[in-house]
Symmetry: D2
Subunit: 347 residues, 4 copies
Amino acid sequence: MVRVGILGATGAVGEALIRILLGHPEARLTFLASDHASGTRVDEALPVLRGQTDAVLRKPDLAGFAAEADVVFLAKKGADSMDWAPRLLAGGLRAIDCGAEFRFRDPAVYERFYGTKHTCPDTLAEAVYGLPELYRDRIRAARIVGVPGCYPTTAILPLAPLLAEGLVSPAAIAVDAYSGLSGAGKTYNEKTRNLFVDCDENCRAYSPLVHRHAPEIEQELSLAAGTPASVLFVPHLLPLDRGILTTIFADAGKRPASTADVLALWRRRYAAEPFIRIFDKLDEVTLANVHRTNYADFSALVDPRSNKVVIVAALDNIVRGACGMAVQSMNLMFGLPETTGLLFRCV
Amino acid sequence: MVRVGILGATGAVGEALIRILLGHPEARLTFLASDHASGTRVDEALPVLRGQTDAVLRKPDLAGFAAEADVVFLAKKGADSMDWAPRLLAGGLRAIDCGAEFRFRDPAVYERFYGTKHTCPDTLAEAVYGLPELYRDRIRAARIVGVPGCYPTTAILPLAPLLAEGLVSPAAIAVDAYSGLSGAGKTYNEKTRNLFVDCDENCRAYSPLVHRHAPEIEQELSLAAGTPASVLFVPHLLPLDRGILTTIFADAGKRPASTADVLALWRRRYAAEPFIRIFDKLDEVTLANVHRTNYADFSALVDPRSNKVVIVAALDNIVRGACGMAVQSMNLMFGLPETTGLLFRCV
Amino acid sequence: MVRVGILGATGAVGEALIRILLGHPEARLTFLASDHASGTRVDEALPVLRGQTDAVLRKPDLAGFAAEADVVFLAKKGADSMDWAPRLLAGGLRAIDCGAEFRFRDPAVYERFYGTKHTCPDTLAEAVYGLPELYRDRIRAARIVGVPGCYPTTAILPLAPLLAEGLVSPAAIAVDAYSGLSGAGKTYNEKTRNLFVDCDENCRAYSPLVHRHAPEIEQELSLAAGTPASVLFVPHLLPLDRGILTTIFADAGKRPASTADVLALWRRRYAAEPFIRIFDKLDEVTLANVHRTNYADFSALVDPRSNKVVIVAALDNIVRGACGMAVQSMNLMFGLPETTGLLFRCV
Amino acid sequence: MVRVGILGATGAVGEALIRILLGHPEARLTFLASDHASGTRVDEALPVLRGQTDAVLRKPDLAGFAAEADVVFLAKKGADSMDWAPRLLAGGLRAIDCGAEFRFRDPAVYERFYGTKHTCPDTLAEAVYGLPELYRDRIRAARIVGVPGCYPTTAILPLAPLLAEGLVSPAAIAVDAYSGLSGAGKTYNEKTRNLFVDCDENCRAYSPLVHRHAPEIEQELSLAAGTPASVLFVPHLLPLDRGILTTIFADAGKRPASTADVLALWRRRYAAEPFIRIFDKLDEVTLANVHRTNYADFSALVDPRSNKVVIVAALDNIVRGACGMAVQSMNLMFGLPETTGLLFRCV
């Protein structure tokens, strides 16, 4: 039984982690920490949990974590995570960060795009990028995992194997992505203008070409390609709660391939993956199929006239794009079957 | 391990049953029957299941059910259920009907409202109304259970105890109900006009005062009150997928009561119920809280000026209003803990 | 040509007024005032207006209004309206207030429900309740009109004639109302929690029995009935932008009536009304039919068992529930055909 | 006063035409034809029109059209339009076809993509492609206009001037488009699966690279470029009613340009256009801004690293993508100011 602490238990990420872990047969939530709501029951802060737990929120506390938890999920923003992560490791705990602080190989990239100094570069240096399909063995051994961003996951999973084998070119890959509003969090947010009346019956791009997930995508695609890769990343907002659908246009690589070749490569590469589903046709990939699951679904179509590869990928941004993937890493870190607690939802 | 067959596996009800039961630790889906899709894999008919099962749909077959299943869920419409139910019982199986065929005490009421002859009144006579909070012991022993309608469940659970103890009057209870579109099924339906463009950004009543769930509500409220009860039932369509929110206006009964009295009665009556949640205030009852769960949430407010009791109740029409409740009955029938497989969803 | 000023031009009400009046052939927007955005073009503050006007927002200014406008719409909150209204009248202008400050006959009711002192009771005393179907002649002559609330309009229009002629009882009328989110305005609002993720796929009641529109409904229903009327008003939020659908349950009055009687009375009473549409059946009343129009649609069904009258009414909360109705009053005040600028939308 | 007939008055296109033309001060609807509903009032077939017209639907009839109309809108599918168009012209009428039958220069392209023989190639030969910004003078003189497709309009308006002046390359332009469901019509449609439960909270591609609008886009882009242009067109469905948002990725052309250059070219080319709005930034282009209007909004961003041009374009598929644009052509054909009846909606 893995004993789990959560820092930032009442935010969107914290809430989703609690809900997944309450149903996880090999995990026990032992320490739910919240700076501003400590002392109250978690099901008072999050009434959706009524009937499922009588846990009380507590002030975060290193000694408490060390005594009661094996791993702590960091579900907070920025500075706090960089403050806590090294202390948790020093206290003998393992950590899984759901923010952006432990995703980048180069702290300078983090600092440029997030506009803040990285205060624990040594911890960053040992952090493992928490994409199990690419880094499974390193995650198993990691003391700290940086959970990938939601948009990057939709782009990296289909593209990495194609870049590695030269089926697509690493230059100027167009990543046209559409996300539901749960990605914007549970409070008002100037950048996404996430009021109902601004989003309902609406669709628009935001942060085109300059979104913080662009350098993260480029980091991983470059590693996969073995040469610098570049993307044109244009995120948009969809009038729905959950899910990201990403359509990708890439030039053929050194080894131009047919649709069948692309599908075959993926099926070979991901044959043993429990959470990857390859579909024959682009239009079979839907947000409905991945809704509230840990699957990443994708398909490809090669245009015979232009040799361009078109990909459509879908996932649930809160489960596969954040908290489900985080729990998948936890399962690996503690030697549990990787799918534990993640295979089903209650319809 | 309960061995489960499903008749009508690819409809809206069948799909939800499969998804719940795949995650149920004490059930095994052994026989998925479909008249029109037999021979194909269920995850081809329902791609959302890809990766979770390799079961193949089969033609329904009594000997097959008898050999391989302990219980069969009837997830079909009308005549088929009345045809299969007696044969399944005769074959030594137990049956849980998710349609309307085994809900009424009086076949004449069924015949009047459903416009078709009841062809197995004897089976109907032994059927138990599958509302565990009211008929738990009878369900345990039942050979056949008729799962309640979704709307009736939202009205009966809060009203039955209040009627039983005289806190509300059984006369002319206004039941103003709002349902998401999943209740209208997976094909086009003239009555609900369930095209996206007819429902999006729209709301309207349908079948006011004459909906088939009205006599079902009245049957159970009358039994609870010990005297004939009548309702004005006005269902409406909400532009969303899942959930029913019902607002009820009832006159005070012989024993007029305050808001606190009503809440206290419910808390006493439902103290041990795992799937009932009582909230202090009407505005705390939301569809979001019950989304894809087996909970029924409700609250009350007594108007001090008029002595009217106002109730708001919410549930997920597919889980608590149909398939989750059906599995809850299955758990009871086979001596399993009642909440098995029903407590969580994957966020 | 009526010269029009607007105070609070960039809020939800101001924006809708501008859009209606830009298309109004007998009105000219001469003074668009905004406290915080003066000096900028209105189509910069409201990009939806690009291409339709090059007007510049200005600081509100009494002399400016007096010189350039015949009427000023007050599209601001609370205190500001009470400050400006008497000054505008003193300056020889006429005023149409879209807030709650000039709706109540009794300032004490306003003060109790809005929690603030009414600072210009004399102006309130001369204000006319801007419901043309009830007060057409008085509106024509009014110096100041208080535009009704959106919810009250849905309840008063169908109920007033029935109360006046004794077809329904004035006691304990249940008004169960469902509104889209545009009613919650264009900024975050604690009471309605109007973030997309809190409203999408959700429905819930708010302010049950204590919403500020309840006393406004009771004021007008009491006047219509000639005796005190009382309502149980329960507003809810619908996951859509525009529209209110209200279902009403009332007891029969001294003169019990059939469905046909109710429809006939309405058709007689409202025969000449350009913006009232009576439908034969409850389920023909839909939000889609009134979307972005100035119509109020309703129908009735009398329950033969209980003699209760069930009514469903629909309107667009921003047009018929606020700005369209305000322009309808302006048309009356300035001797224009009442429907000018209000009959059509561009699909 | 232009006398207008409509063939197919009760479909989605017919309904929108009626609503626009009822508010058009220089048009009179004289002949509303419907094959299956003749003899009934149009506001019975389309209750949203209640109170706006008492017109009765009639059987289509050439003599009737000739006697009573100056122009007939063809709002029907396929074969019917090809049957009626030549007869209307022969009868001295002008025609505006809202389908695909009169959009293609080459009947063979039509036949290949629509799978049916073109039965009036002579009429097609004289038809003008009804995009006023490109063919204004020819539309003025046309006897028959083929209204462009909704998706093509979003791609052609921004791309045509850039191709004409060499700012983008005509090769392999990625057109990633997202449409609301009103584009799928008012009946169930296998290709778009337009039931509420299949579209709500969902997003998916359909007909990728093979949609019938692809050759239409290529026809017009090739003409603009003066050389064959090719597109990768991937349409998707958005969970909303109205609007298309299209994101385009194109390579730089012979004359690579900055963002400012692209915006400047558009502003010069479209300076006098009443229905084109150029925005400085991609994220200012929203479906909300064009909702139920005749505007086409767009913006561009040139990626300095890759020299790719990224464009976001938005329009209302029913107004600017079909019926509004059709009325714009009618205005031109009859010498009316081009914006007549099209500038405003009632908020």
